[in-house]
Amino acid sequence: MIETLQNLGHGFAIALSPSVMVYAFAGCVIGTLVGMLPGVGPLAGISLLLPASYGLSATTAIVMLAGIYYGAMYGGSTTSILMRIPGEAASVMTCIDGYAMTRKGRAGPALAIAATGSYIAGTLSVVGLMLLAPPLAAFALSFGPPEYVALLLLGLMVLAYMSGGSVPKSLSMAALGLLLGMIGIDPMTGYSRFSYGVVELADGIGIVPVAVGLFGVSEILLTAGQAEMPQVIKPKLRDLLPSRDEWKDAVWPIGRGTVLGFLIGIIPGSAHIISSFVSYAVERRLSKHPERFGQGAVAGVAGPESANNSATSGALVPMLALGVPSGPIPAVMMAAMMVHGVSPGPMLIQQQPELFWGVIASMYVGNIVLLILNLPLVGVFVNLLRIPYPIMYPAILVFSVVGVYAVNGSVVDVWIMAAMGALGYLLRKFDFETAPIVLGVVLAPMLEMSLRQSLALSSGRYTVFVTRPIAATMLGIGLVLLLYSLRPLLAKGADWRRKLGLEGDSIAEKEENR
């Protein structure tokens, strides 16, 4: 313990030195900006600054790139809350309740809670990273294909709880999303599925155009022609900060989101965007007022936003402790390290203590910087809402188009965004939830690949899922949850159809709960 504190002190000395601070700050600011722009995410920001980092020392370079990474998680919530456009894929869940809060005039509190939750989660997760990196990393490595299958199935089961409406409708949306995720070259056999000769589809349909189209564009399509435009809100200072009740509602979700996000982020390849979905579902399940979700529940913002921030720290655990990238962004950071002659590997913490502790310390500092940066900006951003909607939405559309195009420089993505926008419009008209589609698109490739890898490894024996302890445990939990949700079948009260979730709330009930 003493040694850890000593090392940390040494790290702070590095992190607080002017040259490192400047780059940490630059990284955080750029990360926030990049996170705010729809479509363009931290990967783009990091790739952009990668060449610029070559001239810096290794520690400074990683500090800056890490700053972009978690900074983007702060910025991503801004457009999600204000305009229902996901700043990047991890902020999709924030769109739902965050935007609902904006419509109720609570945009300021939503932004403030998102920023605060991000800060708490970011800082606490760095503590976790600092203290637990090597053992957690070893645990993460023990996740093989069968464990992934169990984890992802668990994620899908959790998805069933995300729905306030009817379960068959949500599950059909999930199935739809999973099917969309099948587009592309099958990684196990090389067959090109459902891509109809379009080369750009070989990698799949892309989560960014789907998220931006399904959430942002569909919102524009639904709102732009309405007789009653969304009210221009003139916020007063008092309205910028959350009320005491709202703070109270946020505390536990932030805590749970932090833990959940961190654990999910550690697991290599799980894509930390799942963390926000899982957090949303958990919060909905545990909430005393589940009907509030979708209409502006504070927990629906606090939980996911905390989760995606702590997931970034979690994602750095395998990278720093073992030299194993848990996703594309840590992979780029590892490449940056290699370019500087630092070999990421299991000996990194011992051989390069300045790098490790310098990065850790700078993450503490960076989170504080971001909080200070984002809170006053709440006032600035909320004023954006004063722009009348008919002028606002073309601007949103332009940003969406350029953001989506910028990811791959491909017009195909713009087409996908438009198509998803149309689909989202129709689905919402017919009262189907669109969030499960996004989850499905993300999970499908991973789920299928892990399943077939598991079968390849076990030579076709399905018992592998029961014989491996971690996988068996997760599947067991999933089964219990499933049975629990089917309880109403036993009770067969007058209301069993609705309790089971076959039907959604009637429109009248929805209006009551508003």
């Binding site: 990967l43 990091i46 790739s47 990668l50 060449p51 070559y54 490595l141 023990s142 996740f143 093989g144 294909p145 070259i185 990684p187 196990m188 056999t189 090389g190 067959y191 090109s192 000769g197 080369v199 750009e200 070989a202 990698d203 290599p268 390849g269 395998p318 073992l322 030299g323 194993v324 990238p325 594309p328 992979a331 780029v332 950071m333 590892m334 490449a335 940056a336 290699m338 370019v339 500087h340 002659g341 070999s343 990421p344 590997g345 299991p346 000996m347 990194l348 791959n408 420089g409 491909s410 490739p445 690949m449 890898q453 390849a456 490894l457 030579s459």
Partner: protein, 325 residues
């Protein structure tokens, strides 16, 4: 003016624009397309090369990432662009694999290899065979014997079906006459993670990536696919030495679209040749622990043809997975 004089004048007049163009070239920034995401192998090769070329040409040379379809998008982009020398490609050995894989599935190929004119080879790292240190095999011989005793049981991970790491293993499997279980992953990094986690038994990997793990004692290198031993692991025998006819390199080379005028090609080749000598370039490559393996265009073409043929054979042997039961 004699007829001969006129002919000479005419010839000069026709050649002059090309020469002038070459002398003026480049007038705009040159794009080097890296068909993989930033931080990937092609990208890491392209950036120091671009920086060195920029110093020599005194004109901007920019690396552009065009990702997708395991590189096919970026490669197709350069293949179809104007052959004016402003769009170049930094490609890896997978350039030879993709058209073959397309042929296998009766797909219209995203591009064909004869749409490219090679400029130079920049690096060529032989893959090395690694297994977890806990596994009992101390040499390739032991692994092969074990594999013969229990066919289809020893597993290896790869970066993807028909990918470079898969093809490398395929060559060994064919040369040694054994059957191994192939578990494809979505990239070299997940494949390495799986190996470190003990979920698969071995894999073929690029040396720069696995070196830290080897040094930390987590992985044991068994042999290399090169013709010669690699500098960073001098005690590691090559498969050729051990009697297996398998040679494979993860190489990176620069290409231009076919039809780029000869003077411009010459200028590009000269620039790349000089870039290889540049001190900063050498330092950058050293830091990445990647040896420079320069080959000028004619030798590179031979190397490429040879390599492509080996890969095409391997792919045809593997065939479509569903039919190989």
């Amino acid at each position: 003016m004699t007829t001969r004089g006129l002919v000479v004048l005419l010839a000069l007049a026709l050649a002059l624009p090309a020469v002038v163009a070459a002398q003026d070239f480049p007038t705009r920034p040159i794009n080097i397309v890296a068909p993989f995401p930033p931080g990937g192998q092609a990208d890491l090769m392209a950036r120091p090369t671009a920086a060195a070329m920029e110093k020599i040409l005194k004109s901007p040379v920019v690396v552009v990432n065009k990702t997708g379809a395991a590189g096919a998008v970026g490669m197709a982009f350069v293949a179809n662009s104007k052959p004016d020398g402003y769009n170049l490609l930094m490609a890896l050995s997978s350039i030879s694999i993709i058209p073959e894989a397309d042929k296998l599935f009766d797909r219209k190929p995203a591009y064909t290899m004869d749409q490219f004119a090679p400029i130079a080879l920049v690096s060529a790292d032989p893959t090395i065979l690694v297994c977890r240190s806990e596994r009992p095999w101390k040499s390739v011989k032991e692994l092969v014997e074990d594999a013969k005793k229990r066919p289809d049981e020893i597993s290896y991970s790869s970066s993807g079906i028909y990918g470079t790491l898969h093809m490398a293993m395929e060559m060994l499997v064919h040369a040694a006459g054994i059957k191994l279980k192939h578990v494809p992953y979505g990239g070299a990094a997940p494949a390495l993670t799986a190996l470190l986690g003990g979920h698969v038994d071995c894999m073929a990997a690029g040396p720069a990536v696995v070196l830290p793990q080897v040094k930390a004692g987590k992985l044991r290198p068994l042999a290399g696919w090169g013709e010669k031993r690699i500098a960073v692991l001098p005690e590691l025998p090559t498969l050729k030495e051990l009697g297996y006819n398998a040679e494979f390199y993860i190489w990176a080379g620069m290409f231009a679209p076919k039809g780029t005028p000869e003077p411009i090609m010459k200028k590009l080749r000269d620039t790349v040749r000089a870039a290889m000598q540049d001190a900063d370039f050498k330092t950058a490559m050293d830091k990445m622990e990647t040896p420079i393996a320069y080959l000028d265009a004619p030798e590179f073409q031979k190397f490429w043809d040879n390599d492509a043929k080996m890969l095409a054979d391997a792919i045809k042997r593997v065939g479509r997975i569903e039919e190989a039961k």
